[in-house]
Structure formats: structure tokens, C-alpha cells
Symmetry: C2
Subunit: 348 residues, 2 copies
DNA sequence: TTGTATGCGTTATCAA
DNA sequence: TTGATAACGCATACAA
């Protein structure tokens, strides 16, 4: 029905303008145009003006592929982001993007679906696109990924992921986070607690989280109750279902720890629906990876994970490598306890 | 401390292998190698094997920049995503990514910060990178953006954004969504209602949302109360604050409509903290853009917006254009009412 | 300060 | 089926 949008700006039947076109129109050489755009200070005022005018009139946009081919770099950083839509990754990515953008780099995102070892084909796509560096977001990366990166001499950093030996890695102290939650609960008199977290079979991070929690619990002489343990994907629905499953078993617990905001939200909804009052009959604590745990009803005690900070620091690590300062660093950021609630003392 | 990961795969002090290297090792021409990789069926078996072997041994990865330069396309689609971290965009992006990936395209994401007209520089970066098409996610795009796209003959689609005349656009029927909420509330006897939504000064979408809601409200003979109206950014904190502000005025309303999940979550937290029972004293309804409104406490009535579907359809529109079938289409997806709660009847 | 010419790694055209 | 070779658009070393 409607005509295609053809504003009359570009020459009616041609492809977009090139350096040569600009040079021609301005009556100079391509080299001069190139320099005018990249280092204007090396060009005389009158020439510069003529060139800029031609650029303007032609609506010239440089061809990045040609530039990349010539310069052997793309000013692009690739990021591999599993489970893009959920949890804390968006915030991490945004922080990363901002940090890199400040240095002139653009972020190229890829979200692999969970097919096993699909990461390598994603990584391959990134490498073919000539990314100058790669950020690995909290994924379980097959060893082959690191091999490919090494083979291509591509700088990279892992974010919120198990630190590999000698690899740039930015995360936080997982044990400290677990201890923070456990100490808080113990201080309020809780002895027997449950846990809803990620699948330990699928994720090294989930394994560490559970392990650290167990350690912290043992250290304080508490009990992690087997019948109040659930492993699931991350999400509202999943937290809801997991909490229902646990509640059916009527375990003898007074507190539940949730691995993420989404799980906590789902769990709280399930408890509410089941008429189990929080925190009077059951306290809920969580690892807050999304800055919204604080707004859940009822307010929960949560450990704020430094998500945004991870993104920033990872960006800086990447930039350091791109500048040639690439001593591998594993950096652990501090965690803090956000206590907005009257986490219940043990009920009678 | 640790040695850098240098597996012995690549030649110790060289840059990565090129077609020529592979050709040399396999004893064929570069043309043959190129064809072997792109159309193996046109190559004799023995040659093919020799080439593949060389590829393997050198760990050859094609140079995308060179390919793009030669082929004049990148198999890349750019997306401009405002307010990356919040609300419904991640789900939309993921759906878009999946749809495009199935057709061999990669998505290149850019998240402009809210600086005005920053979009044009973002778009410029995308165009320089040679994206074959662009997806505009629900942003207010300055007219200049469309001009740039037209000048570059770059296919594009707007998602969940005001339809521009003659432009590919995928959204949903905003008025129908508003009417769904209003009818539901009216059917439960509510007469006077409030609204927490986006800033109408900043966003055409917010303006339409408010306008449609007003229309639907008028049509049912209800009243949208001025003193129960709040405009704000989207987010938990913002919804929390807005609800508090409204509550202080003690408006004579029995229901509040929230523009998004995040706002609704914040509003519910505020009501809870203020001791205002939902839905006994105040009903809350929302536009559910994130599939989690249903899990909020207490459950709310919400209109599910077809976020994922927008992403899918937008991807398909883009692909259609890339294949040359580019009759502009404005597509409106249906909306549905999710009623999980006992949206309160009017209290006494 | 400006112009010339070469290389970047592919794809594609045209012969062989 | 394969090989040589010309684009592709830009940056840059070298000349002027």
C-alpha cells in the first residue's frame, strides 16, 4: 500500500558513498579524506572544510569492514551471554557496555541457546567477526572455548564464573556471600534451613553456591535440610513451583534461602498462596542479583551481589589487555548484606 | 603469577592463518579453498579432503571483515535497545535473536544511554559496522534516524513503537489492552481509578497509553482521578515512590492501574508497607510486559502484552525485507487478559 | 600539507 | 573442477 521510504537524499540508483566519492567531490585524494576524518589537525583549514562539506552532502558513512581489514582491528568486543532474558545479566551487560563505550569500543552480544557446546559456534561467529576481545558471562565454558581464544590470541575475561587458572576473571567472594546469609539467620535463632538454587548438575556456579552455603551452615552448627532442598532453573515460575514442592513435604525448617531474586519472588508468591506467613512462620533470605529483592513482599533479607560492579571491572580488565597490560588477574569484589526486613526469629 | 594460556596450537609468533596460508599448505589456490568452505559440492573429493585437513591444522578462522567487504553484506542485524536492563526488552531481544539466528543472522546490540539524540550516533556506529538491517526497540526515534536509514537503504523495523507511516512496525493494539483492563475493573464495580505510568513528556508511547486508557475509561463512564495520577520512569523504586505519593493524597479511588510489572511491584510494596490491603481496600491491575506480574504478591489482574511475539514477528519482518519482500507492514498483535486474582469488588 | 600506491583477506568472474 | 585475477573500501608508508 504505502510507498517505500525513499527520501531523495542519496543518489537515486546507486550504492552508498565511498571515500573515493568524497575525494572526487571535494577535489582531493582519498588519502586526504581519510586523514581529514581521522586526524583533522594534520589538514589545512580550507581543505578540511571542503572535505567535510562533501562528506555532509554525500551522507558518507565509513565502511567498517574495509577499515577493519586495513587496520586489523574492529574496536568491537564480543560478549557471550547465556540466559539473556533472566536474572542479573542485563545489568552486568549494561555496565560492561558503558565501560567499553567510554573507550570507544562497541559491544557485540551473543546469546547462545542452551544446546550443549553451542558456545563454541557462538564464539566462532564472534571471532569471524573479528572482535578484539571477548567477555564470557558466568557460563560454564567448555575447555575448547579457552583453546579457541588462545589459538586466536584474543584477550578475554570471565565474569561471575569459576576462575580458571591464569585467566582474567571478575567475580565476588561466593563464600563470603553465603556466610553473610547464614550468619544473619543464625543470629536470629534459625537452626534448620532450606535452599532453592540452580541445578548443580548443569552449573559449576550452582555447585559452588551450594557447597559454600553448606560450609557456612556447618561452620555455624546449623542444618541444611535435605527435604527442603530444591534445584531448578532460574525464574519466577520455577521458584514458585520449587517452593510448593518443598512446602508439600512440610519440612521442619524455619528459613529458606533463595539463589536469586526471581526464585525468591516465586517462592514468596507460593508461600503467600499457601497461607504460610512470612516471616512469622518462615523466614526467606536471598542472594540479590537484580536490585529488586528489596521490593518484594514481604521485604526480605538479602545479600546484594555486586553485579554492576562486575560489569565495570570486567570492562576495565578487557581494556587493560587491549592496551597490552595483560597480566591475568582474578578479582573478587566484596558483597554486602541488605537487611530491610524483620527476618523472623524462630517461631515459638 | 600464572603463565598466560598459550597452547601450542598456533605458530608461535605469527598472526592467524589466512586463506592463502591454507591454500599454500593444501597445495591449491585460494579460490579453491574459498569454494571448499562455501560450496563443498563443487569440489572434488580428494581436493576437499586436503583442504579441510589444512584448515584443521592451521585452525583457520575466516576473516569476516574481508568477507563483508567482498560480499557487501555482513549477515548481521543491529538492534537499538533503550533502557536495556529493565522491563520487557530482554525478552523481546531474545525472541528477535532466536528468529534471526535461525536464518543465519547475528544480532548486534547497542544500548544508548538516555542522552537526547544519542540514538543517531548509535545508529551511525551500527551502519559503519555494516549491519544489513536494524531493529528499533520501542524508542522515540528522532526523525533523523529514519532519514539516516533511508539514506543508507537499510531495512528496518520498529518494535512496540508508534507506527510511522509506511514503516515496518510490529506492536499490539494498545487501545484493546487499555479496554481490557478498564472493562475488567468496571465489571467489578470500580468507578474511580488511578494510574501510574511513564512520562508523557518523554515518550509517545506513554502518551498513547494514557490517552487510550482515558478513552476506555470514558467509554465505560468511569473516572480517571487527577489526584491519583503519576508519571515516572519505569522501575521498582519508581513505582514504590509513585504509589506513596498518590497514597498520601488519599484520593477517592478503588483501583490503580500500573503501566508495567516493575511499577506494579513497587506499588504493591508501597501499599503493603502503608498497611493498605490489596485488593480489599484497593485493587491493582497492570500491563504485564514481563511475565512476572502474575507472581507478584498479591496476585494482580494484568493484561499480558505479547512481548516475545513482537520479537519474533519483528525478526520475520526483517528477514522478509532482506529477502526483498519489503512491502511495509504495520502489524498489531492481540493482547489477552490474565486474571489470576480476586480483583476486589468495590469495598463497602 | 597533500598525493600515490600498496596491502588487508575474501569472493567472484573468467579462462583454462 | 581448478587457477589466476580483479574488485571491495580504507589506512598508511612513502614521495612530492
Amino acid at each position: 500500500m504505502a510507498e517505500p521510504l525513499l527520501s531523495s537524499l542519496p543518489a537515486p540508483g546507486a550504492r552508498s558513498a565511498s571515500l573515493a566519492d568524497v575525494a572526487h567531490l571535494a577535489g582531493v585524494s582519498t588519502g586526504t579524506v581519510s586523514r581529514t576524518l581521522s586526524r583533522p589537525d594534520m589538514i589545512s583549514e580550507p581543505t578540511r572544510l571542503r572535505v567535510m562539506d562533501a562528506v555532509e552532502r554525500l551522507g558518507y558513512v565509513p565502511n567498517g569492514a574495509a577499515r577493519a581489514l586495513s587496520m586489523r582491528r574492529t574496536l568491537t568486543v564480543g560478549a557471550i551471554v547465556p540466559r539473556f532474558g533472566s536474572s542479573s545479566f542485563p545489568a552486568m551487560v549494561q555496565a560492561l557496555e558503558t565501560t567499553l563505550a567510554a573507550a570507544g569500543y562497541t559491544l557485540l552480544l551473543s546469546a547462545p541457546d542452551p544446546r550443549p557446546s553451542y558456545e563454541t559456534s557462538i564464539l566462532r561467529a564472534l571471532l569471524e567477526r573479528g572482535v578484539d576481545a571477548v567477555a564470557l558471562l558466568g557460563a560454564e565454558q567448555p575447555q575448547q572455548v579457552f583453546a579457541m581464544l588462545a589459538a586466536n590470541r584474543t584477550p578475554f575475561v570471565t565474569m561471575w564464573a569459576p576462575p580458571e587458572a591464569g585467566v582474567h576473571c571478575v567475580g565476588f567472594d561466593e563464600y563470603a556471600a553465603a556466610a553473610l546469609v547464614v550468619d544473619h539467620l543464625a543470629d536470629h535463632g534459625h537452626r534448620r534451613i532450606g535452599y532453592i538454587g540452580g541445578r548443580t548438575a548443569d552449573s559449576e556456579r550452582a555447585r559452588r553456591r551450594l557447597r559454600d552455603l553448606s560450609l557456612a551452615i556447618a561452620k555455624r552448627g546449623l542444618t541444611l535440610c535435605d527435604d527442603a532442598l530444591a534445584e531448578t532453573e532460574h525464574g519466577f515460575q520455577e521458584g514458585f513451583d520449587a517452593m510448593n514442592t518443598i512446602a508439600q513435604r512440610q519440612p521442619a525448617i524455619t528459613a529458606v534461602v533463595c539463589g536469586s531474586d526471581y526464585l525468591a519472588a516465586g517462592a514468596l508468591a507460593a508461600l503467600d498462596q499457601a497461607g504460610i506467613e512470612v516471616p512469622r512462620r518462615l523466614s526467606v533470605a536471598s542472594f540479590n542479583d537484580n536490585d529488586f529483592a528489596a521490593f518484594l513482599h514481604p521485604p526480605l533479607t538479602s545479600v546484594r551481589l555486586p553485579i554492576r560492579e562486575i560489569g565495570e571491572q570486567a570492562g576495565e580488565r578487557l581494556l587493560a589487555q587491549l592496551r597490552g597490560l595483560d597480566a591475568p588477574v582474578a578479582r573478587a569484589l566484596p558483597v554486602t548484606l541488605m537487611q530491610r526486613s524483620s527476618t523472623g526469629p524462630v517461631p515459638d
